[in-house]
């Protein structure tokens, strides 16, 4: 089963664990509804849409309200340390949580108690904590954008806000930043770097690049990175190999964006709506796409 861990931007939203479904533009968990806009609700919505198309059950969500004060996140971290060890999740994706190295490490220790090691995916604040802790290599997949990749490549930076100027990226430097992140052990088994061109990489180097269809406006739309993480999460949970899942997720996210005919003012829920048709099309063309994008 798939677990997705994150926060919602409501101060008093209680800590809830349960199956998450999608109704209209809201995610629903244990009788509570949250509007899908960006952040973890957008990740969940994309994962649900993808999973539905693949015949997968709904994900299990661990959600709590947090508007940046960190109280909700720390409450959730603590809850996870008591409950993850006995769980049997196949895949766990960590998302918008207040970065906290101490709590991050305690959660990893709880995961260590699981009977089988799950596939571990991280994005957003939890990915920052994973890098800060020096434990990035224990993860299977991170999904940074170019700015976050620069942070991972800067061995001294505790947060993207403090990334040094000479490392701060230009899109052309992404391959160098990927190499630097791996050199300093600040990257997981696989990286899916989202941007004008998406990159799938591992310790050996860049495995694939995806740059079609090209919709430059997607960079401005809040939540398009969250949907990418949601799609790749669902594909991995469905049993697809991580590298293939990352390539396909990038293609599906780009195509869903293209179908939404986006402007910089488009909201991400308009893109999520197009995920099923984009997935269907990419599945049909899968073999052809792999041939086109594989690095010779």
């Amino acid at each position: 089963m798939l677990a997705i861990v994150g926060t919602v931007p409501h101060k008093h939203f209680p800590l809830i664990g349960g199956k998450v479904i999608l109704e209209d533009n809201d995610i629903c968990i244990q009788g509570k509804r949250v509007s899908v806009n960006r952040g973890t609700p957008a990740l969940l919505a994309a994962a649900i849409k993808t999973g539905e198309a693949l015949g997968q059950p709904p994900p299990f969500g661990y959600l709590v309200g947090d508007i940046g004060l960190g109280h909700g996140s720390r409450y959730l971290y603590e809850y996870l340390t008591h409950h993850l060890g006995e769980s049997g999740f196949h895949t766990i994706t960590f998302h918008y949580l207040q970065p906290d190295v101490d709590w991050h490490n305690r959660v990893l220790f709880a995961i260590e108690e699981m009977a089988r090691r799950p596939i571990l995916i991280a994005d957003a604040g939890f990915m920052y904590a994973a890098k800060m802790s020096g434990q990035a290599q224990l993860y299977d997949l991170f999904t940074p954008d170019a700015g976050e990749l620069a942070f991972m490549a800067d061995e001294t930076a505790p947060h993207p806000f403090y990334t040094r100027g000479f490392i701060l990226h230009d899109e052309n430097q992404v391959p160098d930043l990927i190499a630097r992140a791996y050199n300093y052990n600040n990257a997981p088994r696989y990286l899916l770097v989202k941007g004008k061109r998406d990159y799938v990489a591992n310790q050996q180097g860049i495995l694939a690049t995806i740059d079609r269809p090209m919709e430059e406006t997607l960079e401005a739309i809040g939540g398009t990175g969250d949907t990418l993480t949601g799609i790749v999460t669902a594909l991995i949970e469905a049993g697809m190999e991580i590298k293939k899942s990352a390539i396909m997720a990038a293609c599906v996210n780009r195509l869903a964006g293209y179908y939404a005919k986006p402007s910089p003012a488009t909201q991400v829920r308009e893109i999520i709506r197009h995920i099923p048709e984009a997935l269907e099309e990419i599945l049909e063309k899968r073999e052809e796409i792999h041939k086109q994008n594989a690095v010779q």
Binding site: R38, L69, Y96, A157
Partner: protein
């Protein structure tokens, strides 16, 4: 060791990095300001401690306050309101690091996007309405987007007023740069 333990991943028992990576240091003008700030922050429940400064930032005042770095924006706002703003806030692990000062600008025709570090702010050029906020990973980012998107740049709350984290701080920089570029 149980049979199943054989199949468990071999994870390190000791973490390689110090857990101070998510801590910051505040430097003040003098010791009495340190004491005032310490009292105030402890009263508000922050996990802080007074300590000696690392050699890189030693500047006369012989005490600094260690604080949770991610929540820099919220702590700065608290101290500014109380009239004891720190001279400097820096990461513990590398006190010479500076906040980002590089901005990336993308012109989409009718829309302009400014990026500072990991945060992007996009406005409609003619109406100056904030149409999107993207990037970031701290939990105040979705909250900031909820409160700012759809409002004119001049009327939306500033990230420094309602944000709490370093992502909020990065968005503040993008917001200030956008205002500078859009001012007549």
């Amino acid at each position: 060791m149980g049979f199943l333990d054989f199949f468990k991943p071999k994870w390190p028992k000791a973490f390689q990095r110090s857990q101070s990576w998510d801590r910051g240091i505040m430097v003040f003008e003098n010791t009495s300001e340190v004491i005032r700030a310490e009292t105030l922050l402890k009263e508000e429940g922050w996990k802080i401690r007074v300590m000696g400064p690392p050699p890189e930032i030693r500047s006369g005042c012989d005490l600094v306050i260690e604080f949770p770095l991610i929540e820099e924006l919220k702590i700065l706002r608290t101290l500014q309101k109380a009239g004891v703003p720190p001279k400097k806030m820096v990461p513990v692990n590398s006190p010479l690091l500076q906040p980002v000062d590089l901005f990336h600008i993308k012109d989409f025709g009718q829309y302009l996007m400014v990026r500072a570090a990991n945060m992007k702010l996009t406005v409609h050029k003619e109406t100056l309405t904030i149409v999107n906020i993207s990037g970031g990973g701290c939990p105040d980012v979705p909250y900031l987007a909820q409160e700012m998107v759809g409002k004119p740049l001049g009327e939306a709350p500033a990230p420094r007023e309602i944000g709490h984290t370093l992502c909020g701080y990065a968005l503040q920089l993008a917001y200030e740069e956008m205002k500078r570029r859009c001012s007549p």
